[in-house]
Amino acid sequence: MKILLVEDDELLGDGIRAGLMLASFAVDWVRRGDLALAALADHDYHACVLDLGLPGKDGITVLQQLRRSGNPLPVLVLTARGQREDKVRGLDSGADDYMTKPFELEELMARLRALLRRSSGMASPVIRHGDIELDPASRRVRRAGEEVSLSGREYAVLLDFLTHPQHIRSRSQLEDSLYAWGEGAGSNTVEVYIHHLRKKLGPGIIVTQRGRGYRLGEPRT
């Protein structure tokens, strides 16, 4: 799951990025509104955390341009002024949710998870695929009721497949979703994570589509 974080304050941005990375999100962080639009045009994100007061281009403008281009990306707006008009303006400009600074990091993550769940069209907070259960809130994965221990990246790859059950994901798509800018992906790291997932959750969990990429296997009961 890859998040675009747009926050001009260095200390706050750094903190949010660290927090989101702890929750196994890949985070791209930009500090200017115009750069945010450029990043959104060039990359696929699952959600965006957007501060409103930004240099370059303010958050509302970014939001309006994003929506005008038809991008339905879930956007959570951060405002420092907890005033009603700011919230209303943010939501009316196309935000899906807002939070007022200062906020709880855990609440930010919970709201992001809710946004991601809604955008993927899933009703239940717990994702089920056959006998596999994934709880995004606790980041726990069970197979037939037994808890399976996954690394952060393995969890991220599994979540990516579970939230795109019909899609064939190419290796570069998976890498883009796994890594933020500057985090070097090794030449075959995606294969390594898929290998680990097959070992822990059964070989049929992810199916290789030769020459095209991978997709989620048929659910097993």
């Binding site: 304050d9 200390l11 903190g15 660290a18 927090g19 702890l22 200017r32 990091l105």
Partner: protein, 457 residues
Amino acid sequence: MIRASHAERSPSVRRRLMVTVYISVLFLWLLTGWLSYTRAQQEAEELMDGHLAQVAHLLLAVVQDNEQNIAPLAERLASVRGSPDNVYEPALDFQIGVADGTLLARSRDAPRLPILGAAGYSDILRGEEAWRLLNLSSDDGRYRVQVSQAIGLRDRAALEVAGQTVLPLALVLPALLLFIYVSIRRGLRPLDTLAQAVSARSPDNLEPLVDVAVPAEVRPLVAELNTLFGRVAQVLESERRFTADAAHELRTPLAALKVQAQVAMLSSQAPMRQKALQQILGGVDRADRLVEQLLRLARLDPQRRLEHADPVELAPMIREVVALAATGHATADDAVQLDLPAEGCTVRGDAELLGIAVRNLVDNALRYAGKQGLVRLVVEPNEDRFDLWVYDSGPGVPDAELAGLGQRFFRGRDQLEEGSGLGLAIVQRIVELHGARLLLANRPEGGFQAGIVGLPS
């Protein structure tokens, strides 16, 4: 409370007006009354004197032709008395005689006075009684007549006349006073209405007074009030914005601190926790600087002029400030070039505040000039004052944002440098307090210049 006691000392316009008008009206009224009274008295005296003369001439004429019958005629004449109830018919007394003073006849109550006195009017006091006399002699000089009136009676008549003249005046007085009272009250009522309109306002209603009908004289006052309302509203609005901005500026570092603290708590890896804790320390320093700047502005704001103005030697102060500023930036030691007058420059002002102003300008210049940039600080005499300029080789400021510099919390649109947007606002205040001006401009050859122009020496 100087104002309160001042207000107590100046009575209300209404009371002052009433007292003044009443005193002048009463004074004029008394003067008029007294003048009418005395004039009426005099006129009455003259009338009665005329009456005396007529009677005297009549008596002389009667005697001239009736010397033989004079005695019985005198009896009859003496019995002609005025009506005792009517003060305008006072009793007439007379003595008639011949040229040598022998009396021919006299009325019973006439004073026994010699009738040989000089012709004409005279006042005589005889015993307890005072008399007004008229002595006349006939044209041939054979007969003399003396007509007399008791002055007491005459005075009663004169008083009556004068009193009747003054009476209407006295009757009119209460009506006049009442009329004045009502007029003043009515005339000043618009002021009461205005006072009510102002006092009935809620403290947050600073709209101009428009629906109050006031006379032309009060209109300038209302206009001034409205101007004042406008200014107060502006001040309140700017205070409100300042508070909102300050809250916003404090909220971001607080949010950052909170997030970093939560990262430190959530993280299971020591390096990550360590980094988050480091960030917290940095954030606390930043919030501390911001609070310090806010407090400084708050302290500077209410001042109208400097509390301490002492001679300040600029050169050593600038060297010290620049040395301090340079250590805070990752720049070469000689990044700031100084160009100070050789003969020294002493200005009048507050050394600490001037130091803060110079420090902020140099900090800005160093920050925006960048690592390879150059900063030059120049002090030059300007007539009997001094100008202080800080030049930097940085990118300058977009023209559209120049006007916003110096406003509180103003930050450039493209600004990623850490800063609260208070530094130049503080410089602006300090410069104002010193009676100088802050000039900010892009240099035509590139870079930026900030000048404190007109420091008093």
